[in-house]
Amino acid sequence: MEGIEQWKTEAQQWLRQGIEYAHQIPPTQLYAAVAVLLFTTLLLLIIRLLKRTKSNTIVLSGLSGSGKTVLFYQLRDGSSHQGTVTSMEPNEGTFLLHSESAKKGKIKPVHVVDVPGHSRLRPKLDEFLPQAAGIVFVVDALEFLPNLSAVTEYLYDILTKASVVKRKLPVLICCNKTDKVTAHTKEFIRKQLEKEIEKLRVSRSGVSDADIANDYALGIPGEAFSFSQCINKVTVGEASGLTGDISQVEEFIRAHVK
């Protein structure tokens, strides 16, 4: 008990000394110091607030083997170098799109994230969605029908995630590998996806209160599903990663990262 008493008295002494010292400083200096402090904190807060509204992240997702890593390197360097293998980790980079490197002026660099498509690495997508400004969902137009159910499920999962619906993230369904002769057209792919998602929607919401695997429901019950019913904007585009024909993807990116 005595120890505490001692410390109390000592603390009070220090407090008195501090107040005396403070009184000694001319008041203008004191006010100036406090004002500067307040000003800088306010400034930092405002900057943080402003920054948070504009994200510059684009997420490339899709099944394994659809061509995301090739697309990533096309966007960054304009070529896919010596080829790619199945990714085990996400590829991230903040850069100016290769086709725009010649343009002058203030262009904001884009933060592109290529998330692996392998099903075991699916959880990685959830790490990047909160900071995304847009999603490019890459679909293999060549091997479309054999993988149709897997593609549909993945797309359905993305379109019903809370972080996508609440923030109205725009989604570009990019049909890749269109340079090949037997690749399907984007209209065909769009129709097939809409049909499959409709089927999935019906089976998933069969017993609606018992099934809460997805955060939100898609579409309007009673009507056939179509992408125009989504709250967030969903568009379909074409690209060819290997040949470098990725103009639609770049337009999408530029449209959403200003």
């Binding site: 394994s64 083997g65 890593t69 390197y73 360097d77 170098h81 010596q82 080829g83 790619t84 293998v85 199945t86 990714s87 085990m88 980790e89 996400p90 590829n91 290529d114 692996p116 392998h118 099903s119 075991r120 690495l121 699916r122 959880p123 159910s149 897997a150 499920e153 089927k199 999935l200 019906v202 089976s203 998933r204 069969g206 017993v207 018992a210 099934d211 809460i212």
Partner: protein, 624 residues
């Protein structure tokens, strides 16, 4: 000769391939390696075998964890090149010196590689001259040689880490790049591995790697077919076959006429209206549809506990240096640093009922992925290891393919075919009980179900299913006892097509995994009926036997099937989950060894006690 050597980043970009060895690889061995081996946490294995039409390769790899690079060498399986490991090590060393994250082209490395290869080949030539032709293994240089993999026939599908069992003798006391000799591999493990089939295990039939075995030559000749190369299995099978037809006869003690009827159920009950037993509909929602609330105890709480008992044998002297290192964060992780943490982690996993060899392999895989990595600042070795292990566990337990059964049922419905599910497993794990639970859950989702009683051996099995069917009010197809289960199943499916049931649940008799005739009968059932889903029912109480059960089941299904594409186990149903408190390791062992996901978890004995596997909860419990 080496077919190809690749260097690529973990993100997937190929940085360098050897231009001289310009042969295009048949099939896609690298992608398959990544998907079936490295992402399945089997990167501790020594090599990987890949079969494509027209070629069979062996792949070896090494990681540079700090820079995030992977080095893979591919060569023909027939040739067993001695210098591959050493070459990979040297390539890794040289390349990491010229590596720059910004560069994507490394053409200047061609020259270096050519020299390295010449050196390695020269050294291998010398060694060949020194060693006798019989290829005895224990010599000073001890280049690991995958002759086990080379000779065991091209019939191996996918991974055969059984190879490492035979080659562990070589690897002791020598630094291996593929990181599989940590001093833990010892002769005991080798013996154990020889006994069990590992992974999607074809058993490593050749237990004598020392001398050149003429039988291996024979096996090479039989390489064409997909049948088993294990001659012992074949001979055993033929001997037991004639005995298969012995049926049970009722014991007669005196001269009274035999009572042929063994079915003593009360037939009166059947005709009474079903009101008595109808209560299934009111049992409430199946737990499958309830979202599990993961109790979020604060993460800090766990970490504290973890840190306290994670290093029981940490030396006091090492504390200060590890503290310093954790703050400075510059140290490269060495195997020696990882060992104590890994050992503690392995022990912890084993106390949670994970099979011993699974824990072993997991730890190796985690070590392979962490070796050489730089410690981030303010982290300790144990927390890095913990984080890596957690990630690995989540990766293993996350299903590789969709486990949405309802969707598949609807897809089959559109094709006007019933969706057939076969429940297999050893005796007494809960197949019939959980079959009823699955039926109940499906009924709640407005799917029409039919049961097929193909357990024609156990007394009371048909009555048991009949009672469940009566309570759930669903049709049951049964033919009594002592009939061929395959035929009963076939007829049940035909009946289902006729009366428009969406799903057929087939119950089979329990059988031990090394009972040859019974496994043959099961394989015949599956081959004849081609079910949509083969569900292996395993209990959560099982310990190390889980590994044996699953691998033998898979192996026998593959071996004894007469079709070129045998059906293997597609999913796991984990039962008796309510009896284990937090010893949830059986789930991990089963998923690791078979690669198939856990589709249901049975956690009680009433109809509603069926739920989905909560990956995060399991991982948390395992690492607590």
């Amino acid at each position: 000769m080496l077919e190809q050597l690749l260097i690529f980043t973990r993100g997937g970009l190929i940085l360098w391939t050897c231009k001289e060895l310009g042969n295009a690889l048949k099939g896609s061995p690298i992608d398959t390696l990544i998907r079936s081996c490295l992402l399945e946490e089997r990167s501790g294995a020594a090599s990987y075998n890949y079969d494509a039409p027209g070629a069979s390769y062996t792949l070896k790899w090494t990681f540079h964890n700090d820079l995030g690079l992977v080095f893979v060498a591919v060569y023909q399986r027939i040739l067993h090149l001695l210098y591959v490991d050493e070459l990979l090590a040297m390539v890794k060393h040289e390349f990491s010196q010229i590596y720059d994250p910004k560069r994507v082209e490394y053409f200047d490395f061609d020259e270096t590689f050519r020299q390295l290869r010449k050196e390695a080949e020269a050294r291998a030539e010398e060694l060949k001259k020194v060693k006798p032709v019989g290829k005895s293994v224990n010599d000073g240089r001890k280049l690991v040689n995958k002759k086990g993999s080379g000779f065991d026939g091209g019939n191996k599908k996918n991974n055969s880490e059984a190879n490492e069992g035979g080659n562990d003798d070589d690897g002791k006391g020598r630094k291996l790049e593929n990181g599989h000799s940590y001093g833990n591999h010892n002769a005991a493990v080798v013996q154990g591995n020889r006994g069990m089939g590992l992974a999607n295990g074809k058993e490593n039939a050749s237990s004598n790697n020392e001398a050149f075995d003429v039988t291996k030559l024979q096996k090479l000749k039989n390489k064409g077919g997909k049948k088993t190369s294990d001659t012992s299995v074949v001979s055993k099978g033929s001997k037991v076959d004639p005995k298969k037809k012995v049926t049970k006869k009722n014991r007669v003690w005196d001269d009274t006429p035999k009572d042929a009827k063994l079915d003593f159920t009360d037939h009166v009950e059947e005709n009474v209206n079903e009101n008595i037993e109808v209560m299934a509909a009111d049992q409430g929602e199946s737990m499958m549809d309830k979202e599990e609330i993961v109790s979020s105890d604060s993460e800090d709480d766990e970490d504290e506990v973890v840190s306290k008992d994670s290093k029981p044998d940490a030396k006091k002297k090492g504390w200060f240096s590890s503290m310093f290192q954790s703050i400075a964060g510059k140290a490269n992780l060495e195997k020696a640093d990882l060992e104590p943490a890994l050992k503690a982690l392995k022990d912890r996993l084993m106390t949670k009922n994970v099979a011993e060899e699974i824990a072993e392999k997991l730890c190796e895989s985690v070590a392979a992925s962490l070796e050489g990595k730089k410690l981030a600042s303010f982290t300790r070795v144990s927390s890095t290891v913990q984080a890596a292990m957690e990630e690995a566990l989540v990766r293993i337990l996350t299903p590789r393919r969709s486990i949405d059964i309802l969707r598949d049922v609807h897809a089959a419905k559109e094709q006007r075919k019933p969706y057939v599910v076969v429940f297999v497993g050893v005796n007494g794990v809960g197949k019939s009980t959980n079959l009823a639970k699955v039926a109940y859950w499906l009924l709640q989702h407005k799917v029409s179900v039919m049961m097929a009683a193909c357990d024609t051996f156990r007394s009371g099995a048909v009555e048991q299913l009949r009672t469940h069917a009566r309570r759930l009010q669903i049709p049951i197809f049964e033919k009594g006892y002592e009939k061929d289960p395959a035929v009963v199943a076939k007829e049940a499916i035909q009946e289902a097509t006729r009366n428009g049931s969406d799903v057929v649940l087939v119950d089979t008799a329990g059988r031990m995994q090394d009972n040859e005739p019974l496994m043959r009968a099961l394989s015949k059932l599956i081959y004849l009926n081609n079910p949509d889903l083969v569900l292996f029912v395993g209990e959560a109480l099982v310990g190390n036997d889980a590994v044996d059960q699953l691998s033998k089941f898979n192996q026998k299904l593959a071996d004894l099937s007469t079709s070129p594409n045998p059906r293997l186990i597609d999913g796991i149903l984990l039962t008796k989950f309510d009896t284990i408190d937090d010893k949830v390791g059986a789930a991990l062992s089963m998923v690791y060894i078979s690669g198939s996901p856990v589709m249901f978890v049975g956690c009680g004995q009433s109809y509603t006690d069926l739920k989905k596997l909560n990956v995060k909860a399991i991982v948390k419990t395992l690492l607590k």
